[in-house]
């Protein structure tokens, strides 16, 4: 018996015979024993240790971060700047050089709100552009990864000098939300519809030549504090509500007069 007690605190004096056996049962004996087990149980494999599990989850998160940042900027640094896009930040620019107001639009061919903006407000801005009062810089940005092919195709069309007709066509034939995106073949067909008959355009759509450039534009948008598309800037100031674009432009024009 004395020998037993010398062995350690987990062997209770009160426990003898069958009770003792019961008492040293793992995790069911006295708190002292339990605490000792929790501190360092030699039978608990290292991967069951809380620190190991938490560490694993943190490591997984860090790996995920790098995987995703690689995915979302796969072409960073290698992006090809479209030679035709002469607007600020490589946007598509129309309008007289001397126009007093610069309107910048960040939009996505596959976002319903962007299509709504294109239907309602954009024609009136384009009218002001034609009157020489406004310069319009159009940024092809993304709301989702799925929009990348059509965004790229938009820039490809711009390369062929047909950005605006193509842009109108894409918005007019936008698929309903959550029903996928046009394939590259469809995007090429859309090009035919607006009169683009160029193998260079087809190759550009198929290869995703300007994917990196679209990412770059998207990053620009993020840096300028865009949270939602379409985002409209009038003379560099972001509007909180795209539908108020016209009144803001009128005010800016009045201020210039």
């Amino acid at each position: 018996m004395a020998k037993m007690q010398a062995r350690g605190p987990q062997f209770s004096q009160a426990a003898t015979g069958k009770n003792r056996i019961e008492a040293v049962r793992m995790g069911t004996s006295q708190g002292q024993n339990r605490a000792a087990r929790r501190r360092g149980d030699p039978r608990r494999p290292w991967w069951r240790h809380p620190a190991a599990i938490l560490g694993l989850l943190v490591v997984v998160a860090i790996i995920g971060y790098f995987v995703q940042s690689r995915r979302s900027s796969r072409m960073a640094g290698t992006e090809q700047r479209p030679a035709h896009a002469l607007g600020p930040g490589g946007s598509e620019l129309i309008g007289a050089a001397g126009a007093p107001v610069l309107v910048e639009v960040f939009s996505d061919f596959e976002c319903p709100r962007c299509a709504q903006f294109q239907r309602t407000v954009e024609p009136q801005i384009r009218k002001l552009v034609d009157e020489g009062k406004v310069r319009l810089a159009y940024y092809v940005a993304l709301t989702k990864m799925d929009s990348l092919p059509s965004a790229n195709a938009g820039i490809c069309a711009g390369e062929q000098g047909a950005f605006w007709p193509y842009h109108d066509y894409l918005f007019a034939h936008q698929l309903p939300e959550n029903s996928g995106s046009p394939t590259s073949d469809q995007l090429i067909q859309f090009g035919r519809k607006v009169g683009i008959n160029s193998p260079a355009f087809d190759a550009c759509v198929k290869n995703g030549t300007y994917n990196g450039w679209v990412y770059q534009i998207n990053a620009q948008g993020g840096a300028r504090g865009i949270r939602i598309l379409p985002a409209i800037f009038v003379n560099g100031r972001m509007l909180s509500d795209p539908s108020s674009a016209l009144t803001t432009i009128q005010e800016a024009l009045k201020a210039k007069d």
């Binding site: 793992m26 039978r43 995920g64 995915r71 709100r113 709301t143 990864m145």
Partner: protein
Amino acid sequence: MQTEVVLQERTRTIARGFEAFGPASADFTIDAGRKHTGGRVMQVGAVAPDRPEWRTKIWSNWTSTICRFVLAGVWLWSGLAKAADPLTAERAVRAYQLAPEVLVKPVAWGLPFTEIGLAALLVFGIATRMIAAISLALFGLFITAIGSAWARGIQIACGCFGGGGEDPSASWISYGLEIARDVGFAAIAAWLVTRPQSFLSFGRR
């Protein structure tokens, strides 16, 4: 000698048991061996039971098993949906206007992978109680985030299972449903915290 009687083939784990409990005594030995015996003390000559006691609490164990797989499914689904599209995930996190800008990308891109990791650990039943506790904490975080967006009048989609970002159609119904759903998931996690023992798992808890 006793080890030969009780558990002949488990000398290695028996030896480890001795390290913890001192030298072998004359009349009992400790089976710290296979997981199902849970390291219980055995009388000399006893035969280790095939089915340990804790494995026989059938209904709660089965409930926990189902909860484990349901929770794993939830994490896997939400993790994959968010990992599929890093841009949308980033937009969704930013839309909450809670995380500072430096943390938006780490959260948007790291969290889905953590969720997949949680799913994997739950499927195998590794450290179930701790994973369930972490899940519970995460659901609490999500509920707080949605509730705060609701309270601040920000109109966003939850982005819990992909998608997300501003959503002009967000209303008290959508926020309420999202919170109710997360409360349901949290209840599953809470059950697993209290009853982590389940079948088809590695280890007891």
